[in-house]
C-alpha cells in the first residue's frame, strides 16, 4: 500500500489563516518527495476552499476543519464548515464579462475548485457544508 500521510487542522476565522494550511501542504509534499511545482494547483484549491468556507458559510461557529490525505500520487482535501449551507445548483457560474459594470467582482471560488480539481464533491445542509477535492499529483 502506498505511503500516505494525513493532516487535520481546525482553522479559526483569522485573516490569511489559509496560509497555515498551505504551509502544511507544502511540508507534506516535501516529506513525500513531491515538488512544489506539483503542489501548485493544489495550493489554489486549498486557498479557495478555505476562503469560501470562512466567508460564505454564514456560520456562528467561525471555524473550518481542513483535512489533507496525501500520497505521492494523490491529494484528497476535505473542507468542512458549520454554517447554514447552500444549494450548489443555485449558484450561477461567473463570467468575467458579466462582472463588468457591477460592484461585485467576486464569486469565483466554486468555479476554480471545479475546474482545477480532478474530483469535486459538495455536500451541503442546514448544518454546514463539506467539500471534497481530489488532485492527482503524479
Amino acid at each position: 500500500m502506498d505511503q500516505h500521510i494525513k493532516l487535520e487542522i481546525k482553522l479559526p476565522k483569522v485573516t490569511d489563516i489559509e496560509l497555515v494550511a498551505l504551509d502544511g501542504l507544502v511540508l507534506m509534499g516535501r516529506h513525500l518527495g513531491i515538488t512544489d511545482d506539483k503542489i501548485g494547483e493544489a495550493r489554489i484549491l486549498v486557498t479557495e476552499g478555505i476562503i469560501n468556507a470562512l466567508e460564505h458559510s454564514g456560520s456562528e461557529i467561525p471555524y473550518v476543519n481542513v483535512d489533507f490525505t496525501m500520497t505521492k500520487e494523490k491529494l484528497v482535501i476535505l473542507i468542512t464548515d458549520f454554517g447554514k449551507g447552500f444549494e450548489p445548483d443555485e449558484i450561477k457560474e461567473p463570467k468575467i464579462i458579466d462582472k463588468f459594470g457591477t460592484e461585485n467582482k467576486r464569486g469565483w471560488g466554486l468555479k476554480l475548485m471545479k475546474s482545477m480539481s480532478d474530483g469535486f464533491k459538495i455536500e451541503s445542509s442546514k448544518n454546514g457544508t463539506k467539500i471534497t477535492l481530489t488532485k492527482i499529483l503524479s
Partner: protein, 111 residues
Amino acid sequence: MVRNFELTSNLLKDVLVIKTEGYINNAGGEKILQEFENHFENGVTKVLIDIENSRVVNSIGISFLIEIIEKLNSKGGKLFFQNLDPSIEKTFTIMGLFQFAEKISTVDEIK
C-alpha cells in the same frame, strides 16, 4: 510562510510596471488597484503586472485585477502580465482574464 504583500512601481515610457511581492489577497489586490488608479488618473492606459514574487493568490485579490481591466477597457488600454507561475496562469485562464489581458515575456513586447 508567505511574506506580507508589497509592491513597487515605475513608469517605463508610457507603461506602468507594477512588481508585486507576497500574497495577492484582498489587501494586496486593493493596493494594486490603488497604485493603478494613481496613474490611471494621469492618463496611463498600459499596465504591466510582474508577479514573479507572488506565488500565492486568491480569487478575491484577482477580482481587483478585473476592476483594473474594466477601467483600462473603458479607455482603450490594456493589462499585461509577466512571470506567471503555471498554477496562477491557469487560474487567470479559468477566470477569463486572458480574454482581455495578455501574458508577455518582456516589457518590450508592449506596443
